[in-house]
């Protein structure tokens, strides 16, 4: 699975996710990637999110939209909302994986509860990261 989130100079945000699914999958199994609100979500009022991991759990958790709701209705920051969803809720549901997010102010967060996640990020204030492990 691959995904991208971005905030442009006009303050608009967007998210994209694409996947080949799970090795050896059967029965036209679908994970969270193409399901809006589970694997992919974007709303200028809150955040853009792209997820990767055990799709069934991210589906059940409505993970991406949950982050947006925590920000919109409980005034969480992007970092706080993603941390709660990835490192508490998904762990309780035994959902391995992570997500990347950007908020309407251009703040970036990359959170995962697995040993590793391939990720990269950059902003116009000099932040630049490319990494695989924790």
């Amino acid at each position: 699975t691959v995904g991208v989130v971005a905030r442009d100079i006009s303050g608009n945000i967007a998210a994209s996710t694409s996947t080949g699914g799970m090795t050896n999958k059967n029965y036209n199994r679908i994970g969270d990637t193409p399901v809006i609100g589970s694997g992919t979500y974007a709303n200028n009022k809150t955040c853009a999110i792209s997820c990767t991991g055990h799709g069934e759990i991210f589906l059940l958790a409505v993970a991406a939209y949950d982050v947006s709701c925590l920000m919109e209705y409980r005034d969480y920051s992007l970092q706080q909302a993603m941390d709660l969803v990835v490192n508490t809720k998904l762990v309780q549901m035994k959902g391995e994986g992570g997500m990347i997010g950007v908020d309407a102010d251009g703040n970036i967060s990359m959170q995962f509860n697995s040993l590793g996640m391939y990720r990269a990020a950059r902003n116009n204030e000099g932040y630049h990261e490319v990494a695989i492990y924790k």
Partner: protein, 181 residues
């Protein structure tokens, strides 16, 4: 000047260090940097977030190292079945596809659905029919073949399980075929 920013991922999992040699790690880091540069350059010249997330995702789909597009994994029946989704935070519009075969860049099909159809989510053969009607690039099934993914598939079949993108294929790491696919 208001900030612009981009982040990307290439999948998660219990990536074991001992299974990652230096050359492979360098290849992954280079691939991530390359995709990052494409998306960030669009933002830098004032391009839109929706364009940046589309084009950056295409670069990742075209790289065999990642489980999307060209590097997609094998299904139980030995095919490549892909999903993709894109969402615009400004208009709250979105496009999504699932269970498509032979589409070179599923994210471009998802973007086409968002921009040029009255639908949000298309699946299977119908989604491919829409792709053909809109001139989205299609490729033969063997375009998606990679030895690494083929070996992963063989290992999963031996273990009667499935794997996440980057899970170790060592014995016992397959996710057993239970409720979660």
């Amino acid at each position: 000047m208001p900030g612009y920013a981009l982040a990307l991922h290439g999948g998660a999992g219990t990536i074991l260090r001992e299974e990652m040699n230096e050359e492979l790690e360098k290849a992954y880091l280079h691939a991530l940097e390359e995709a990052l540069n494409v998306g960030y350059a669009i933002l830098e010249r004032g391009g839109s977030a929706i364009d940046a997330v589309t084009q950056c995702c295409v670069v990742l789909e075209d790289n065999v190292l990642f489980n999307a597009g060209k590097g997609s994994v094998f299904t139980n029946s030995g095919t490549h079945e892909m999903d993709a989704c894109i969402m615009d935070g400004n208009s709250l519009r979105a496009g999504a596809v699932t269970c498509v075969h032979g589409i070179r860049n599923p994210i471009l099909l998802a973007a086409e659905i968002m921009q040029h159809s009255e639908h949000v989510f298309l699946s299977g053969k119908g989604a491919v029919d829409f792709a053909l009607s809109r001139g989205i690039a299609t490729v033969p099934e063997d375009y998606f073949f990679t030895q690494f993914r083929y070996d992963q598939w063989m290992s999963a079949r031996d273990q009667q399980g499935t794997f996440l993108d980057h899970n170790s294929q060592a014995k016992g790491n397959a996710i057993p075929n239970k409720k979660f696919g």
